[in-house]
């Protein structure tokens, strides 16, 4: 039998069995996902229940809660977790407030050409390196930076917010803003103009139309965007390192310290477990709000 005949027969056999096609196309990525991603995650979580011998530095393979009890009882970890969580919430709220008017403007007000231009400008910073953007902000905020320079020229007392939590909040809000605008913009786009006209036709002014029609309809987009801003802030450790002050450690910094400086991988794993737990709770709440219907 010729090669061609065989190929055709194999093709026909696949055509008759859609499930076989599904298995064959899905199994490589599925295998990849299971082995590389899930398996390593499980290994990490299991490690969280081990300890390190403080003398030899070797991992002691003995089940214990001690890492977790240490995180819960030592106030330094409590404040690190709280700081990370509050920052993630503050950045998320800030980005929602900034993104809503911008996304509305983009989706419902500007002309097609302006929309493309603005979307391009919005997405352009994503091509730039994360580090470059953080260093740019250091240049803006530091004592000899752009902002105090402008302020002194205007005769205002220069602000000193570099290396504070406020600086971190500004930089994070800037960094993740596009991730909030894009899903909200998408949600606004999906609201037909006729709904806004209908609301106005039925007597509603702009505020009621926003509150009763637009907001409920773009809420899934807001939640989707907040998953990005929340999780990206939660997992970051470079911005706190570069522009945070003396008391600006995040969970990520604590993990970095115990894994790379302290050599205590089990404790780092336990800290990572906390991050994952917070994110899981957040995703459950988001699911509750119907965020995944909009993705």
């Amino acid at each position: 039998m010729s090669d061609r005949g065989l190929r055709q027969r194999a093709g026909a056999a696949l055509w008759r069995r859609p499930w076989l096609r599904g298995v064959l196309t899905l199994s490589p990525p599925l295998l990849w996902f299971l082995v590389i991603y899930l398996a390593s995650l499980v290994v990490m979580l299991v490690t969280a229940f081990f300890t390190v011998n403080s003398l030899t530095g070797n991992v002691v393979y003995q089940w214990t809660w001690s890492n977790f009890s240490q995180i819960l009882t030592q106030s330094v970890y409590g404040s690190i977790i709280l700081r990370t969580l509050l920052m993630a919430i503050a950045v998320t709220i800030t980005d929602i407030l900034l993104a809503l008017p911008f996304a509305f403007f983009l989706a419902k007000v500007v002309s097609r050409r302006w929309r493309q231009l603005l979307l391009g400008l919005l997405l352009m910073p994503l091509w730039a390196s994360y580090l470059a953007k953080v260093y740019a902000w250091i240049n803006i905020l530091s004592n000899k930076g752009v902002l105090p320079g402008i302020e002194s020229k205007l005769g205002i007392a220069p602000t000193h917010i570099a290396y504070t939590n406020i600086a971190m909040w500004i930089v994070f809000s800037y960094l993740w803003l596009p991730f909030m605008i894009v899903p909200i913009y998408g949600a606004f786009e999906r609201v037909p103009d006729s709904l806004l006209e209908a609301s106005s036709d039925l007597g509603a002014g702009s505020w009621i139309t926003f509150r009763w029609v637009l907001l409920p309809m773009v809420l899934p987009g807001i939640v989707a965007g907040s998953i990005f801003t929340f999780s990206l802030t939660l997992g970051d450790f470079i911005t706190p390192l570069l522009i945070g002050g003396s008391n600006s450690d995040f969970i990520g910094n604590a993990i970095y310290d115990s894994a790379l400086n302290g050599g205590n991988l089990p404790f780092a794993a336990a800290l990572a477990f906390v991050s994952i737990a917070i994110m899981a709770i957040y995703l459950l709440l988001a699911r509750f709000a119907g965020a995944f219907e909009a993705l």
Partner: protein, 351 residues
Amino acid sequence: MSSLTVPVSPSTASQDGIVLRGVSKHFGDHAAVREVDLDIARGEFFTMLGPSGSGKTTLLRLIAGFEVPDAGSISLRGVDVTSKPPYQRGVNTVFQDYALFPHFTVAGNVAYGLRVRKVARSERDSRVRAALEMVRMTEFADRKPAQLSGGQRQRVALARAIVNEPEVLLLDEPLGALDLKLRQEMQVELKRIQRQIGITFIYVTHDQEEALTMSDRLAVFRDGQIEQIGHPVDVYEHPATEFVAGFVGTSNVIMTQHGRAVLRPEKVELSTGPVSSDREGAAGHVADVAYLGMVTRYTVQLGDGRLITAVQQNRSTDGEHGRFAPGDVVTASWNVADAFPLKTTSATEIQ
């Protein structure tokens, strides 16, 4: 404000209805509506008919307040509303795509306008119930729009508008998305509701049959202007221009001693004998036959080469009896009075 139950007879006093004077609207270089004057009486079922792009929907949106005219004025019951926003006009709109709020139930959608106007809950509930009853949607009150069929959404959109007891209801091709059977059902329904609540309906459609069926009066639009305005019978039997004759029904344009005239196909009779003395006509042969069920449409080529369309009722159940076949020699004749002379200076001929 009109009441939901007392029928109001159409009044000709323009002070009472809608008055448009010199209304124009441009989109860029394109003139969508050009210096339209229009009087619509209170309680009237008024239809704006025309092909797409003829300006009828733009004019409706101008009356609704979604667009502001470049020139001219719009007044409602003697009050100038030209620059007022939609929610200060006492008009409500039924949108072509229904524009129901997807996150509200049927009852929530209908209650929207009342909630906005802070109508007390008990009154709100009873008015929503009455409106849903009127459109026969009571049992669907708790459904979401996504769970309804096209015809049901249409009814909800109607209830959402009339529950506010507007002075004027604007309907933008409301039946356009429905299939034929449902459309005919809703036509009857709309007329019933309009009679029941007695408010002015301004109805936009491109469907000439719908316009003829439902309207008290209709205006035929072309290129942003009104080509003809009148009662359905008037417009159909006495089209002012060739455009109207062609858009509202089909028609033959023939030459008479007085110039060009419109002759409706159903007024043309086909026979085998000579033309009787009280009629006008010509001999020819059947070029094409189309059996349409209720009627048969013939295209007859006359002796001088011109084509004329004739529609004959199929009165006999015998498919062949009294019918002609392609190639048959026939005489096409009509009453002289049935050939309606066209205005020589119609917009059609100017262009």
